[in-house]
Amino acid sequence: MSDFQLHPVAATAHAAQVDTLFYCMLALTGTVALALAFLITFFSIKYRKGSNARRDHPPTQNRALELSWMAIPLLLFLGVFGWAAWLYAQAYQPAANAMTVFVVAKQWMWKVQHDNGRREINELHVAVGQPVRLMLASEDVIHSFYVPAFRIKQDVIPGRYTSISFNADRAGTYELYCAVYCGTAHATMEGRVIVMPPADYARWLESGDQADGLSSYGQTLYRQYGCSGCHDAGAGNAPALTGLFGQPVQLADGRRVIADEGWLREAILQPHANRVAGYPPNMPAFAGQLQEEELAALIAYLRRK
């Protein structure tokens, strides 16, 4: 029974804001609950059978009273809704300088790929004060990336990216849980988020097995799978990819999309459904050919290109 604490650590500014909301709601609902408990106890004692309280003209209806206890909670609820929705939108809004980290979940582990190619399993190292945006993908079932100390949680779904952002402001080691039931060893699909001072983090990033950077691994794949044959040839039968990331793209079916991770992933896997306007439909579909980690590498490369 070690480390018992009633209030969980809050390691981000967002977590502190969530806590504020939580305690305000606790005060609000606590007041209501206590008032009701008091009234029920008070009435129970005062109007118990045989007491000599006055019972003339017991009311059976009071429209003003009823309308008021409809309207007052409703207004309070609207306030709470707005506050919570605003915070929620903030949490999903990545900062402009956020660092993207790819996280692949599978039964029953978390695989993390940093931008420079450093990989880890069940651990995620980040720097204090560095906004981080996680791109989450699953190789099998639905998982959920949950760090109680950051008050963030995002389900990880097979077949597409979901994302969540945070900015840790306290160094330390925080628990990472899988929060959606994912099979036999669900309870052991745990990890740690290690928040380090920037200098330590930089040292950590350079140490360990120095694999090639994620994007250079992506570049290798880019050549291996023959992407460069069309996309770099300048022959005009495939769109150029340099500087594409983050730019708007006009598609053949009339949609206009932003070339972000999610769309690039779809465009690699399902080129026909995502064909860029003005180009012939001759790119082969890579659905079923690429691993999630390879996709992450390719996208990291396209990001830089």
Partner: protein, 528 residues
């Protein structure tokens, strides 16, 4: 005149009866059985969680246990509990009818329920299911190696029992009310069952089809929900919660109906704000259909949809608040006695209020992101379903026990049991709110050591709760043989059901019932 209990006493006659009162008793026996099977699973779960290590049962077994607990408690106890037992018995009595509109259909519902239940138990005996009661895809369709198909088909099958019961209630309440018994003279219990029936009829088929789709995907390995072939796992969640959120109201609306009968009776005055109470019931049923997405805020669904669902969820809290305030106001200037049904009803208000208020935390988007999938959710829905629905069910069983059986239960024991349940329940589930806020995810077979203290408290509470549930089983059985004979109207109740004998005759009333004034001042010419 002979009572329905003495008419046709052989087992064969019981199993082929079309008397709504006997069918209710058949249901009562079956759901009691399932309650204790589901409860046994809960006992092992709580024992396992007394220590952080997963040392009592293997992880796979643990997963099968919480699935069994969820499936059995939701579909084979909570959903049928109040409607099929109390509703079946009381709706015709309360509206002055001879029986339900389709009595043979009513018996058929019981058999369908039973076949579904036996199928589920069979699946559990073959080795169980490890998907959780939510059957999330693609885990349930492509990855689980357990007996998903048989359990899913059993749930599908049982759904038709719900649909037919709901259909029967709707037609009965529309068509078989006694002359003079207009809608706004109906007891709130009947209103609650009317609203519940609409949900049963309209939501259950969606679950049924979703279960069929799981079977198709699992059997043929084709993608409907699995992204490998173009499916969408979130589509499953939408469909599942389209049923399973209204299902919460299937459990709790009838409970509200029961409490709305008990409180005025023991406060000896009319319910405060009858019309608002009736509107609130219908409002909850309607809004309950629109908010299912609040189970999916972190699922990766659209942020705009999340905000819509969150806003609507706050709206559904308003009619619930009206009900709690009106019950409290009914106590004002009453003349209150504290017999066991009243203790259960007051306990219901307290626990339902806590469950409802914590629901607001989960409806608030940013808080839900932290709290969902944790023990906070587990505590929240147990406060609504066990603290609320089960407490009301037990309160209703005690309240109408004299009418159903013709015997009085032992009052002192009943009060002890009610108190034990209240304290045991709070000790079990309140610590789980704290666990959830500290971040302990649900469905964990083992957990971090810092969560142990609260888990031990919870398990200790569960042991009190278990005794609290076994106690009524014993003394109610005892009272069947040794209890004092009950008069027609032991509680000075004002509903039509108290105007006939205890237990009622086969025909319910000896003379046709005519209602002249407000339902609580019935001048019906029932038997006496």
């Amino acid at each position: 005149m002979s009572s329905y209990l003495t008419e046709g006493p052989t087992l064969r006659q019981w199993l082929t009866t079309t008397d709504h009162k006997k069918v209710a008793i058949l249901y009562a026996i079956a759901i009691t059985l399932f309650f204790f099977i589901g409860g046994a699973a809960a006992v092992i779960i709580r024992l396992e969680l007394a220590t952080p290590q997963g040392d009592l049962v293997p992880a796979q077994t643990y997963n099968e246990l919480f699935t069994a607990h969820g499936v059995i408690m939701v579909w084979f106890f909570l959903i049928p509990s109040i409607p099929s037992v109390l509703g079946n018995f009381l709706i015709p009595l309360m509206i002055g009818a001879r029986d339900l509109a389709f009595p043979r259909l009513n018996l058929a519902s019981w058999y369908i329920y039973l076949i579904g239940g036996v199928g589920t138990l069979w699946g559990m005996l073959l080795g169980g299911v490890d998907t959780g009661w939510t059957f999330y895809t693609p885990f349930s369709t492509m990855f689980s190696n357990s007996h998903v198909i048989i359990v899913v088909l059993s749930v599908f099958f049982t759904g038709f029992s719900s649909i037919l019961t709901g259909l029967n209630f709707i037609v009965t309440i529309h068509r078989l009310r006694a002359p003079g018994l207009t809608w706004f003279k109906l007891p709130l219990f009947v209103w609650a069952h009317y609203a519940t029936s609409i949900i049963l009829v309209l939501a259950t088929p969606v679950l049924a089809m979703t279960m069929v789709l799981i079977v198709i995907e699992r059997l043929f390995q084709v993608g409907i929900f699995d992204p490998a072939l173009g499916g969408d796992p979130l589509l499953f969640q939408h469909l599942f919660w389209f049923y399973s959120h209204p299902a919460v109201y299937i459990m709790v609306l009838p409970a509200m109906g029961v409490v709305s009968e008990i409180i005025p009776t023991f406060a000896r005055r009319k319910i405060f704000g009858y019309r608002f109470m009736a509107y609130a019931i219908m409002g909850i049923a309607l809004l309950g259909f629109l908010v299912w997405g609040h189970h999916m805020f972190t699922s990766g669904m659209s942020m705009y949809a999340g905000m819509t669902f969150s806003l609507l969820s706050f709206f559904v809290a308003v009619p619930s608040a009206i009900k709690v305030f009106n019950w409290t106001a009914t106590l004002y200037k009453g003349s209150i006695t504290f017999d066991a049904p009243m203790l259960y009803a007051l306990g219901f208000i307290g626990l339902f209020t806590i469950g409802g208020l914590t629901g607001l935390f989960l409806a608030a988007l940013a808080l839900d992101v932290h709290l969902t999938h944790t023990y906070f959710v587990v505590a929240h829905f147990h406060y609504i379903m066990v603290g609320g629905a089960v407490a009301a069910y037990l309160g209703g069983i005690h309240f109408w026990w004299p009418k159903v059986t013709g015997r009085m239960y032992p009052e002192m024991w009943a009060r002890v049991a009610a108190a034990m349940l209240f304290f045991g329940f709070n000790l079990t589930f309140f610590p789980q709110y704290l666990l959830g806020y500290e971040g302990m995810p649900r469905r964990y077979h083992s957990y971090a050591p810092e969560y142990q203290l609260l888990n031990v408290l919870s398990s200790a509470g569960a042991s009190i709760l278990a005794i609290g549930y076994l106690l009524p089983l014993c003394y109610l059985a005892w009272s069947l043989f040794y209890g004092r004979h009950a008069p027609s109207n032991p509680w000075e109740g004002r509903g039509l059901e108290w105007k006939t004998l205890s237990p009622p005759p086969v025909e319910n009333f000896s003379n046709p019932v005519v209602v002249h004034s407000h339902v609580h001042e019935v001048a019906g010419e029932g038997a006496a």
